[in-house]
């Protein structure tokens, strides 16, 4: 939203893309991995190994270097516009 209105705090605007922008990279990535089928809901946030494994799977699918880390290339790819069909079937 345009910032710096006539008086600070007087502009109360919420807009759709803000929600995902305010998530941390980690939160955003977990939500993404869950939504597109890379990580089952039960395993979300449980251990580092499952997240690393899910990230590797995602990186393989998106033709990225398979680091298993949440690097900038991976975050950038996850923020790109895409189809909503899960990449990994449940």
């Amino acid at each position: 939203a345009p910032r710096g209105g006539p008086s600070p705090g007087s502009i109360l605007i919420t807009f759709p893309e803000e929600r995902t922008r305010t998530l941390t990279d980690q939160q955003f990535a977990e939500e993404y991995l869950l939504r597109y089928g890379y990580i089952p809901a039960g395993l979300l946030g449980q251990n580092h190994t499952s997240l690393k494994h899910a990230l590797k799977k995602l990186q393989r699918q998106l033709a990225l270097t398979q680091t298993g880390e949440l690097d900038s290339a991976t975050i950038e790819a996850m923020r790109a516009p895409r189809c909503g069909v899960p990449d990994v079937a449940p």
Partner: protein
């Protein structure tokens, strides 16, 4: 490539699809064309054919929606998730959904296709010069009726080619008013509205009534987005208002002032400081053609590919080249095999997308794409007689010098009131006017003529008409009344009840001459047999249309006989039933009967 688990695929090759609604971002004909071309990508490399149906069941149902739209897989607002589709199967399987909070284009910015004017529906050319000034958006300058127009070439002053921009004053989308334009002010729930509104809806779509009172008439449509409509913010779909005030400064164009991310925005009222109404200005948008082609891949049984250049890769990538990658072709041919018949014929209409490299042959089983057409009433402005008749002019306006008045153009009529074969010529009636097409279909359409000049007793709005082949009497129907003309003498109006029809019959939607002096009178899904000589129906109880004419859609609004075949009209299409009582053609009224 990947297929879905269990290798889901269609068991038949003649796939049907139905477009349930339209995005306000694009003119319907551009959307139709994008979907048709997207299907054609797949039909070109497989034995599959794709046929569009306008009602009833279809294998692939196409829908625009926002957020939670009924399937449990909500969209997420602008950007991010663009669309999704379900693998082949019954019910929701095979359906494709598009997030209508995206800005849908052909991938290269707003598509402003014109209507009326003298440029044959060509897109706006931005920027263009008018009276020495440069314009990057549609404008009302030079007009006194408030309608937005643009030049379709770079220099209006030189070429004088123009058209009218999408506006709720010209037409509406979907709804139940046949695309009629908005009527302002209109009353809804006791309140008066002077602009499109989202009141009364939870999905954010902007709508209007097409009569002065929604409360009374319940007629409505959705408002097409103006070329300056915003995305996101808190005013989705509303147009920028220029100039607007922000921090006491005046802005006449989109600005990134006040933002740290450089994105352009505008206010949707004239004072942001007061109203805080705003949205993002348009960007290049997402190509509906490319996204649809991807989603249709899912609807046919392809899962996501891991080849970044493939169409079935999950990420959006704009390309002007041929979208299908070898990986996509291998995938779809793995499911359905390759095309063994010759390629379909090229489309007969001019492509809507500028780059020829993205054009693909049209499927022969799909009717030709509709040409740009005008609103049914062709009276965009509020006063009933003030249509957009003249070219944009410098102030003060000069009289129009030749461009076609939209009300004169039969090709601009979406849905005719009535069509009938009279004296061997097909007659098309609309709002007090009519046009004639010679029986041999040679020569131009004649008209418009005023109904009142030829048949002075008739009202401007007719429902149906027919000519009795024996007596040459002409029968006209409007509402619950009918008139019979013998030469210049007229009998009527008479009430339909005089024919033996029940008083609940609201109107006669069609009439066809049948055997032995009988005429079949239609009222939506039922018909009666009329003895023309006695002018009485043989039974007060109607017969169901589907029993006698299987295969025609429900709720046709016009039925007529032409060259011995029966035509059932619904929207811009007709279904032709031949003498063997089989549907042998589905076509466009304007295209195939009027030869537009």
């Amino acid at each position: 490539f990947q297929t879905f688990e269990g290798e889901l695929k269609w068991k038949h090759q003649n796939i049907t699809y139905r477009i349930q609604n339209y995005s306000p971002d694009l003119p319907p004909e551009v959307t139709d064309d994008a979907f048709q071309r997207a299907f054609a990508l797949w039909s070109k490399v497989t034995p599959l054919t794709f046929t569009r149906v306008s009602s009833g069941e279809a294998d692939i149902l196409i829908q625009f929606g926002t957020r939670e739209h009924g399937d449990g897989y909500p969209f997420d607002g602008k950007d991010g998730l663009l669309a999704h589709a379900f693998p082949p199967g019954p019910g929701i399987q095979g359906d494709a959904h598009f997030d209508d909070e995206e800005f849908w284009t052909l991938g290269k910015g707003v598509v402003v296709k014109t209507r009326f004017g003298n440029a044959d529906g060509a897109p706006c050319h931005f920027p263009f010069t008018f009276e020495g000034s440069s314009y990057s958006a549609c404008t009302t300058d030079g007009r006194s009726d408030g309608l937005h127009w643009c030049s379709t070439t770079a220099d209006y002053d030189k070429d004088r080619l123009y058209g009218f921009c999408p506006s709720e004053l010209l037409y509406t989308l979907d709804g139940n008013a046949n695309g009629d334009p908005c009527v302002f002010p209109f009353t809804f729930d006791g309140r008066s509205y002077t602009a499109c509104t989202t009141e009364g809806r939870s999905d954010g779509y902007r709508w209007c009534a097409t009569t002065a009172s929604y409360d009374q008439d319940k007629l409505y449509g959705f408002c097409p987005n103006r070329d300056t409509a915003v995305s996101g913010g808190n005013s989705q779909g509303e147009p920028c208002v220029f100039p607007f005030t922000f921090l006491n400064r005046e802005y006449s164009a989109c600005t990134s002032e006040g933002r740290s991310d450089g994105r352009l925005w505008c206010a949707t009222t004239d004072d942001f400081d007061r109203d805080h109404k705003w949205g993002f200005c348009q960007d290049r948008g997402y190509s509906l053609f490319l996204v649809a082609a991807h989603e249709f891949g899912h609807a046919l049984g392809l899962d996501h590919s891991s080849v970044p250049e493939a169409l079935m890769f999950p990420m959006y990538r704009f390309t002007e080249g041929p979208p299908l990658h070898e990986d996509d072709v291998k995938g779809i041919q793995h499911l359905y095999g390759s095309r063994t018949e010759p390629d379909p014929e090229p489309p007969t209409s001019s492509p809507l997308e500028p780059d020829s490299t993205t054009q693909f042959n049209a499927c022969p089983s799909v009717p030709p794409p509709a040409r740009p057409t005008g609103p049914p009433t062709a009276r965009p402005s509020a006063p009933p007689t003030a249509g957009p008749t003249g070219p944009p002019t410098a102030n003060p306006p000069v009289p129009p010098t030749g461009p076609l008045d939209p009300a004169d153009d039969a090709c601009g009529v979406l849905v005719f009131d009535a069509i009938a074969e009279i004296r061997g010529q097909l007659h098309f009636f609309k709002d007090g006017r009519y046009w004639r097409v010679p029986r041999d279909s040679k020569g131009p359409t004649q008209g418009p003529f005023l109904i009142a000049n030829t048949w002075s007793a008739l009202p401007p709005k007719l429902d149906s008409a027919f000519e009795d082949p024996l007596t040459k009497k002409l029968f006209f129907f409007s509402g619950q009344k009918m008139w019979v003309y013998t030469g210049q003498s007229v009998v009527g109006p008479r009430r339909l009840e005089k024919l033996g029809l029940h008083s609940r019959v609201q109107r006669i939607t069609g009439a066809i001459q049948h055997n032995g002096g009988k005429v079949l009178l239609f009222s939506q899904n039922q018909y009666w047999r009329l003895d023309v000589k006695k002018q009485k129906v043989d039974s007060r109880e109607p017969y169901p249309v589907e029993n006698m004419f299987p295969g025609v859609p429900e709720n046709t609004h016009d039925v007529f006989l032409y060259k011995g075949d029966t035509y059932f009209c619904q929207g811009i299409f007709f279904w032709r039933v031949n003498k063997e009582n089989k549907v042998d053609l589905v076509g466009y009224v304007t295209y195939d009967l009027l030869h537009c």
